[in-house]
Symmetry: C2
Subunit: 228 residues, 2 copies
């Protein structure tokens, strides 16, 4: 599998100068990804069959296999799409809520500014209970299947590497920096979000992702950073 190709295809979307055939192919892939996400969330990743996914997207099994070699390859394309979407949401949030508060020579934000800015940025993030559940299931499959473990780890690590870059740059513009290894700090905060989602599902907690995260993420981000 070629992650560069997947990445380019997903990230650039359907540009105007792409031939009709490619545009149609992109739409087919997008419909398969949407349908697969629904089927994974409803039936579980392991239980979902290629037939069910193809049918939910309104395609034949043959159409599935002309786009993806397996359910696993489709899952990696889904991870790539989610990654791109989430990082874009984060970049948009930083540009919209943090950038106006900090000039090139601006002073650091006070803690209240930081808390409020993080909450605003989190509000832009998609509610990801379904994504979290599906990814957790796929991770467990990868843990027991070494043929997908390396690809899974690579996608996962790329995500955290890109995420850390954005967070560190945002902190820098707010005149803050992590007091521990930045990527470890970002992973810790992401794990906190993930375990919060798990508890919410188990407890039947109906609050949104953002409401829950606004209680925990800003406090730990402040605790793990210091003013420069």
């Amino acid at each position: 599998m070629d992650s560069t190709t997947l990445s380019d295809g997903v990230a650039s979307g359907v540009a105007e100068d792409i031939p009709a055939e490619s545009a149609r192919r992109q739409r087919t892939r997008a419909r398969l990804l949407d349908a697969a996400f629904d089927v994974f969330a409803e039936q579980g990743v392991r239980a979902a069959s290629v037939e069910t996914i193809a049918e939910a997207a309104g395609f034949t099994r043959g159409a599935f296999y002309s786009n993806f070699s397996s359910k696993e390859e489709l899952f990696f394309a889904l991870m790539e799409r989610e990654k791109t979407m989430r990082l874009e949401q984060l970049n948009t949030g930083v540009a919209q809520f943090l950038a106006p508060l900090v000039g090139p020579d601006g002073a650091g934000l006070d803690d209240d500014d930081v808390l409020q800015t993080i909450t605003h940025i989190l509000e832009l993030q998609s509610d990801d209970r379904r994504w979290w559940l599906v990814q957790a299931e796929f991770q467990l499959m990868a843990l027991r299947d070494h043929t997908i473990a390396a690809d899974y780890l690579r996608y996962h690590d790329e995500f955290f590497s890109d995420l850390t870059e954005i967070v560190v740059a945002a902190l820098d513009s707010a005149r803050r920096r992590f007091t521990i290894d930045p990527e470890e700090a970002v992973r810790v905060i992401a794990e906190l979000c993930a375990s919060g989602e798990a508890r919410a599902v188990l407890a039947g907690d109906e609050r949104t992702f953002t409401e829950r995260l606004s209680e925990s993420v800003p406090a730990i981000l402040l605790a793990l950073t210091e003013r420069v």
Copy 2:
């Protein structure tokens, strides 16, 4: 299911004044728990059948059901046993490595003392890659099955509540305290351990639990605490 009974049974072990029948029952339960852990780790929690577990323990299906009403009830007994064992290991570590460094009127430890003490305490913990994998699988089952979600959450929350109490007392004796909500801090550190286990399995990292944790846990514990 009565968690108090399970807890008492597991925590107190086989006391000398327990009648022979009860002692035999405890041994049967212990063998079933040991066998179930092996089968869960090897085949996965969902795939493991009551028949396979009973057979691996050298018992009949009937003997299984005279001790546990279901695979899920056995899993909760396993969680209880693991919880008791891990908290005891932690208490032992604190008594052995932290207590001698801090008197009732002792001064705070410096950061190097803290780092070294935590590493020593971690060395007493069982390597828990198998346990982590099995528990992650059970959690995903609970996420999709509301009949076990509440019990799972209760066991999980009890563990973190007990764990937080021990950690806060240990920090207090070392003249430190968390700068964020203590239970949240403990959960964050535990999640860091769990995600470290996942990455190690995916990456084929052969280092022990303690070796990996010694790189990350002390730093974050220091970052999330302050001297009193």
